[in-house]
Every structure is written in structure tokens, then in C-alpha cells.
Amino acid sequence: MRDEFSRQKVDEELALLIQSGKIEFFDILLERYEEKIRRYSRKFLSDSEDINDVLQDIFIKAYKNIRSFDAKRKFSSWLYRLAHNELINALKKKKKNPLPLFDLDVFFPQHLSDNNSLGEQTERREMAELIGKCLDRLELKYREPVILYYFEELSYKDIAEVMRIPISTVGIRIKRAKEIMRTICKKLGYL
């Protein structure tokens, strides 16, 4: 009965129920997002134990802070933002090079001529090939929007929410990521 009821609910409605004290619905959100967040985390961390620890922290924080979620917004963006912060912190602990403190593409306005052109099927096929071969060689600031756009299928607006950068910067970073990956793949002889 509860399963049927909860399956019909969208994430935001479930979050509202949890906010009102019906904490038993949290496991539905856990089920829905565990695999997605695990896949996202794998692009940051390689050690499975580290990934499990971070995953646990992400969902515990999501539960503790569920009342900070604004149900007018998308739950997925909110959760990915939380995961982004946790993963960046995990990388900092490992002294790996996370996102730079200052970046010119966030500082100045960027112009992106056609926001949707990257979403076309041919583009996606080409990107899938590039990502498969060269994604790991990208800097995190380029790698993350690519993962969120092509793997997690978030919109530019949602990626901007997750990374807290202007929407135009998301488009520019994905465009540059593609150019960089193409160059890397050519150098390595994959293209």
C-alpha cells in the first residue's frame, strides 16, 4: 500500500512528507538515488571504500538537512549539490587537485551561441566516444559538468545549481571539455 503510494510521488513530494515528520519515506529517496550518486561519485573517487564512506555521509547529510530543501526547486539538484560538496571535501582530504579557488570563466560574462546544439544525437554519440576514452584526463572543473550532463542527464540550469556557477559558464565548460578531450584523444591516437 505504502509502496504504491510512494511510487506515485515525485521526489519533491516525498521530501515534503519527510520534512513534515514522515521519515519512513526517506528509504524511497535512498533507493531512487543511491545508484545515481554512486555512479557520480565514481567519477571523482576510485577507491570503493572511500566511495561507500562518502555515499553514507551524503545520505546522512541529506536526511539531517532535509528541511533546508525548498520543495519549489528540484530535489535532484539539491542532492547532487550536497554530493558535490562532500566529494570535493573528500578530494581535499586526499590532497588531490579539486576545483580552483578562482576561475576566469566564472569571473567574466560568457556568451554561448546555441545552448542546445550539444544535445543533438550525433553530438552525443561523438561525446560518448570521447568520454569513454579521455574523460579521466580532464580537469575536474571540465569533467564534472560533462558527467552531470551526459551521464546524469541534468539540464544546464540544474548543473549550474549543483556547481553554483552561471548557466553560461556550464555551457562554455562543456564546449571546452569537448575540445580538450578531442585534442587529448588525437594525441593518444584514439581518433
Partner: protein, 252 residues
Amino acid sequence: MINNQEQKSIKERVLEEIKSGRIKIRPKFYFVLKTVLLAVGFFMAGALVLFLISFISFHLRASGIWYLPGFGPRGWGIYLRLMPWFLILAGLILILILEILAKRFSFVWRRPIIYSLLAIILIALIGGFIIERTPFHSGLFSQARQGKLPFAGPVYREFGMPRFHDVQRGVVEEVIENGFKIRTFDDQLLTVVLAEETQFPFGKEFEKGDNVVVMGEREDDTVRAFGIRKIDDQFRDFERRLRPAMPFPPAQ
């Protein structure tokens, strides 16, 4: 298979923590308080920036440094040397803190940093200059001179009316043959001697009661002037306010 096991254990671990009561949902009040504290911190840092910029402006005008570039390259040199760089650096750091705090608001991070940074700098400069034109700093400075300002008093006494070797600011008390005597805001009577190379970028007619800035080499109570400029800034309160507050009788 292993993957399924891992997934199950994560879910179980989280739910176990919840059921045991070791983790609890934070109340809405906690997040409201965080937002309020952020807003308060932002406005306090903003107020501090406004205070600092208006204070720097007050210091530059009251000491006469502000007017030095009008004396050409030599004036510019002294101007750059006497600028309160420490206060300027503190102001820049505060602006940076303001920007970092502002970036927590979605209407700020959705736009390129340059917009919010320029807006903060512009508001700080305009606001600072407006405050400098009010009686705020001259009032505090007067209180500091009378010993009624315990905390900020030393800062006002040091920066409000500093003694520089190269620049003097005061009021003409007596016109003499080769110059005039001025009474500085910190109650010193100085003889200003004119020379051939003395510049008068804004006219050379001086009379008793004129407010002047003198750039030149000081030796004891005599200043050999390289440049003299009359200041006619009736809008600034401290021009009127500081003189009666000075602990010496008005000039005859």
C-alpha cells in the same frame, strides 16, 4: 553481486543510523538562523567597508594628502608615499570577504563574479564618499580629541590629523612679506616661506582665514613651500567643525 551487497549495506547503514536516533532531522529554525546570521554578517561587513572607505577619505582630506596630485609629478610622488596603504589593504580584504559572503546567495552566484564585485565596489565607494561628507567622522574625531572615544580614539588621533614632513594643512593666520603663517588643525603655528619654484596651481592670492594645503620641506616651524593650494570646500563639515573644537583660542 558484490555491488548489490555494497548497495544494500549503504542503505541499511543509513537507515540504521536513522532508526537508532543517532541522527536527527535538523529543525527549520536552524536553517533560518543560519540565513539570518549570514545576512547579519554580510551587512556588518558592508557597514565596516563603508566606515573604512569614508574614514580613508576623511583622513586624506583632513591631512591634505588628497590635494597633492594637483601639484604635478612631485605631488603625485608624495601622494603615493603618504597614502594609508594598510587601511586600503584592509578595505580590499573586507570587499573580498563581502564578495565571498554574497556568493552564498543564489542571485549572486547565478551571474559572473565581475557584476557582484563591481556592484560592491561601486556601492562601497559612493556610500563611503557620501558618509565622508556628513558630520560623522569629524564628530567622532572631535570626541577623540576630548578623550570621549575610548576604543576608536587612538585610531582617530593617529589617522585623523597625522603630522607629515611634506604636507601641512591649516588656516592662514597672518600674511607676511615672503609668505604667511598658518595654524594647523593640530594647533601648530608654522611659517610658510615662498620661493621662486613654488607652484600655485589654483591661484596665489591668499588672505587671513584661508584654508590651505602646503607641500614643502619643513624645518622646525618653517616650511619652504614647493606648492600651495587654497581649499574651498564648504560642503565638508570638518572644515567648520574642527576649528572651534580645537583646544586653542581662535586667531586674532
